[in-house]
Symmetry: C2
């Protein structure tokens, strides 16, 4: 089965908003085994939209349109699909009642009423996050789906209605799992998994490049959920055996959520002494609800004087080895661990750039220190990005080093 995606909206053609819906839908369709050969964007213009709908309808099994379901006169998707494919629009009482309820104690413009009209003989897709219902319409072996534009309305509607519809059409079950990988470089991870990737049938393994880490999506087709789970588990184990500790989590895990969980499970507290990252690492811990179980205080020791005064780095160390050195990083990590009475202290000191580099100590040179139990060490990196890329890389590597140290695993000094 193949599907085309049509995003409707002049604001996309003006560059006012980014068309993330196309990527979301393409990913989901791909994981469901549906091919996408065309994506396009059309404005709020009846003639061009009719043209796009007819072209897509003629060459594909399925079209998904997003956007243009609002109450204004620029919102013409449903009306235009109806016109292009000679379908009637009919009043849907339930949708109207939901719209009225949505506006409860507030003014409801009469133009909102038009949102309660749907394609005749379609399946109405309820919108639990907005006023506009979607439609799923089948005719002559083709399917036309109309979804709202805002992602927080569109995605749940796709998940709740369109995905099960496709799965039912395919027969059987399709399930996915994301494997989260950090620390060995994206092309390295793909290289290590090349036999799996080249020989994949079912499940499939798709690499998703991300900014600072790698992700692999395992997708299994099966007759039922248990079989799908079993295929996914087998493939996950194959990947774990190859990538080892570079796999830090699955699905919605992040390095910080995994670290906080690990600290919670081991009743440990963590603190950071951050120089160049300037609070970036601590702020990622702060993203995690429940962080206060494992995190009470942290320091940004941006100047040499602050490194000395706040986390007890001996001035002679800085004088002899420099602020950006393994010796200073180790002293910072030990110092923050004591000063904050934490179980594990992590430090970062580096030259993010663009200025500050030299031949001996180039821009990107960064040391990450760790102090935990009887471990006192620093890891050296030379990052190759711009200032903020280098700081991001330092922050993620710091979280990863904390994770691996607590797990008692080796840290791979992968130079990005």
């Amino acid at each position: 089965m193949n599907c085309e995606i049509i995003a409707v909206g002049t604001e996309i053609l003006l560059g006012d908003i980014l068309n993330t819906n196309a990527q979301y839908l393409s990913r989901e369709l791909s994981a469901l085994g549906v091919s996408v050969f065309h994506q396009c964007v059309v404005g709020d213009n009846e003639q061009r939209l009719i043209e796009a709908i007819k072209t897509s309808y003629n060459r594909s099994d399925m079209i998904i349109l997003t956007g243009g379901l609002g109450p204004t006169e620029d919102d013409i998707t449903k009306e235009t699909v109806a016109k292009a494919l000679s379908i009637n629009l009919v009043y849907h009482k339930e949708s109207y009642e939901r719209i009225v309820e949505y506006f409860k104690n507030r003014y409801m413009s009469p133009t909102n009423e038009k949102q309660a009209y749907v394609l005749e003989n379609s399946t109405v897709l309820q919108n639990n996050n907005g006023t506009a219902p979607g439609c799923l319409y089948e005719q002559n072996g083709k399917t036309v789906v109309i979804l709202p534009g805002p992602p927080f309305e569109m995605q749940p509607m796709f998940e709740d209605y369109v995905k099960p519809f496709i799965m039912k059409k395919n027969g059987g079950i399709i399930k996915s799992k994301f494997i989260r990988v950090f620390g060995i470089g994206e092309s390295n991870a793909e290289y290590l998994l090349k036999d799996i990737i080249q020989n994949q049938t079912n499940p499939t393994v798709a690499p998703y490049a991300k900014k600072t880490e790698s992700t692999f999506r395992i997708t299994a087709k099966a007759n039922n959920e248990n079989e799908a789970d079993s295929l996914i588990t087998d493939m996950s184990e194959k990947i774990y055996n190859i990538l080892g500790d570079a796999v830090y989590g699955e699905d919605d895990d992040t390095l910080q959520s995994v670290l906080v969980k690990l600290l919670q499970e081991n009743s440990l507290k963590i603190s950071f002494a951050e120089s160049c990252t300037a609070g970036l690492i601590a702020s990622k811990i702060g993203e995690i609800s429940g962080a206060s179980d494992v995190f009470c205080e942290s320091y940004i020791t941006y100047s040499n004087e602050a490194k000395h005064r706040l986390v007890d780095v001996d001035e002679r160390i800085i004088a002899e080895y420099g602020a950006v050195s393994s010796q200073t990083a180790i002293a910072m990590a030990n110092g923050v661990r004591s000063a904050s009475c934490s179980d594990i202290g992590i430090s970062v000191t580096g030259i993010s750039g663009p200025t500050g580099g030299s031949k001996e100590k180039p821009v990107g040179l960064t040391y990450i220190g760790v102090s935990y139990m009887d471990i006192s060490r620093a890891y050296k990196f030379v990052f190759k990005g711009d200032r903020n890329k280098n700081r991001e890389l330092a922050a993620y590597n710091a979280l990863n080093i904390a994770r691996l140290t607590i797990l008692g695993k080796d840290v791979y000094n992968d130079l990005h």
Copy 2:
């Protein structure tokens, strides 16, 4: 003049990458007065790409294609444009030499050679950030532009070659300036500027919604640069007179870059005592090269005990008013200012959520404290987002409060 954008790449159709090029080009073209009625994505498939090129060529004045200029056999854009429009490909010696130079001491696969072929009689667009040159080809009043896929290669090439080309075709000059606004809410800013926006001719004023702030792009067309600048300056002044201190900068300014500059100009040092933001504010200061002039140390006082021990908040204040209170925020701001010997101390204490709220102190309740000269005060907010949205809003408001306080201006307590 109208233009279509064709993004080439199966990875976009698989949802592996987000098509940001379409948004960038649409924005730039819109600012240049060029209409975009169609955007589409096609895979690395010759037949479908030929179809897309021919369709676009027939209905538009200009096509811009991005992607598919790499060295692999899946990279077919140039070859396919040549085929679709019956143009020869010719060897471009200068491009070949640049490619060889790029690979200098590294292995260069022979497949890289194909990147040195260009459309006959086209203008070759030099790539200063990668190996693949672009092409700009004119025929029968139509223009076809081929650009690389990676944004950091495509954008400079567009800026350096395509933009001047379009401006020359338009005749005259087109210049833009972004006005950066924070603190009064996007719909409020638009409302305040509604007369300007409704009556716009030249220059135009386009609102760009951003996550936590508003931006307005002023675009002027004129016969020469001086005239354009003059039109822009006049319009900027109109906007400043209406929006006042909510305008914090222009073009590439960010709240943090503007604040750092202000601190530098006034020889001031700043520190933060962060609770819920957990380092987010300090890390934004750390983004700015030169921050060390104005920033030496900062604290994350996540627990009540840390608020007491690190920034001297009296335990009785926390006991009586709670950690999330104006009294605690003021004490934290005063405390961090003394402890760090800074000129200005900023504090944040709040309930980011999703847990921790109550009837009296709901999720989103946040106090931002400021201690500067003889000023010791706290501002109350009730943010309405999820955990991380609330933390982002707190961080940006903290930066803005620091800015306005140093400028001696009032702070608008806009509840987002």
